[in-house]
Amino acid sequence: MALKNKVHPGFLEAIRDIPDGATIGFGGFALPGLPGNLILALAEQGAKDLTLVANTTGGTRNDPGIGMLVARGQVRKAICAFTAATRASQKLPFTEFYEAGKVEAELVPQGTLAERMRAAGAGIPAFYTPTAVGTELAEGRETRIFGGREYLLEEALPLDYAFVRAWRADTFGNLQYRRSQRNFNPVLAMAARITVAEVEEEILPLGAIDPDQVHTAGVFVGRVVRIPPAPDGWWPQQPGSH
């Protein structure tokens, strides 16, 4: 009669079953909430032909992100709010592969990206949004007038797996995020069939998190892994500390 213990001993073991062709979403907005350890484990695990969903296409081949996985030939398609390098001078792995036609990309406005995943997690197959009406992204697509204003039809974006990074968890997978670490993470957890969480603090016993203060309910989380201290675990660096 105790809720399931979802704690896994390591990152690689927690994502071992991800098959080629899976659709995986990552949290993170800049570094806060980025599940760097799970992304590094996925690079090691080696699944291919992946569709990856995240805010950006990532950094260098050594930074945990889409770029690292693209550089290793694991990615078929990226679905992101940024698909071009922010600075034209930077030739990041994603840009290189994308311009060479070796990876596909779907560019989605950030709010639409979040809402499409939220829709998947809410049993809503499609919704209308004012975003991107009248732009290149709406060309050839269905729009409709409500109350005199034009809206674009957008479909839900379900995930097979979500990788999230949280501050605290209990053994059942109830999660709390700290500050802007929250970002896409709770939405990803709703959208995914299986959510894997990397967690910064010691995993808490059941009952240690106030039910009113849970940010992602454990019913949305399949697996939890505690992040070891650096250098075994991946942690963002304090600016100027290196």
Partner: protein
């Protein structure tokens, strides 16, 4: 008059509760379904979900120990189990529609052998009471019903086609009545288990649709 023969209300709920599998997220409708939470199902771990956003509630609160901030979908003051979480109504129904609920147990006025059922509006009424039933009926992975086999006037509630407005179409997986446990199989109800002291011909006579009897028909209990 309604049949008082066959199973009691708690026995019906007990049988349904034993269908729950370990780790299931269960939503219980008002009335007989709430009796399922009284059933001792041993080590099987169930997470009770309530439409108002409570995930992981526990037994009814003891008299005098009610938390006035905490009710289940039936408005009963309940307790929380360790590991519970609270979400708002839109997120609660997001869970429901997205298929996160393993089973909803609902009451019903009528159920048809094609899996339709009706529980929100009586014949000729103005208005109705839907609550969360329509969302649960289309969203939950399994819809189980608990209802008396006949109306107060002895008319069958298990029918070929619903005569009153449906709650959802083709969704019912199991039907528990005081006569036994059934499943809708399209053009008939299959009788899976029969209540002690009831004969198959009695069931057939009080059922408003074709009845087929499972090869391995057993007694409920």
């Amino acid at each position: 008059m309604s049949d008082s023969i066959g199973l009691t209300r708690q026995q019906m709920a007990d049988r349904i509760a034993h269908l729950f599998e370990d780790g299931w997220i269960v939503n219980l409708g008002v009335g007989m379904p709430t009796l399922c939470s009284n059933t001792d199902i041993g080590e099987t771990d169930i997470i009770y979900h309530s439409e108002n956003g409570v995930i992981g509630y526990g037994p009814i609160a003891p008299a005098g120990g009610e938390d006035l901030h905490l009710v289940n979908a039936g408005g009963q003051y309940v307790t929380l189990r360790p590991g519970a979480a609270v979400v708002h109504h839109a997120d609660s129904f997001a869970m429901i529609r997205a298929g996160r609920i393993d089973v909803t147990v609902l009451g019903a006025y009528e159920v048809a052998c094609n899996g339709d059922f009706a529980n929100w509006k009586v014949a000729g009424a103005k208005g109705g009471g839907i609550g969360g039933a329509m969302d649960l009926a289309v969203g939950a992975k399994n819809v189980f019903l608990i209802l008396e086999h006949t109306t107060r006037n002895g008319a069958p509630r298990l029918v070929r086609e619903c005569a009153i407005p449906a709650t959802a179409r083709g969704v019912v997986k199991k039907v528990m009545t005081n006569y036994g446990l059934f499943e809708p199989v399209g053009t008939a109800f299959r009788l899976l288990e029969i209540a002690p002291g009831i004969e198959v011909e009695q069931v057939r006579a009080r059922t408003g649709a074709e009845l087929v009897v499972a090869d391995d028909l057993r007694q409920v209990g």
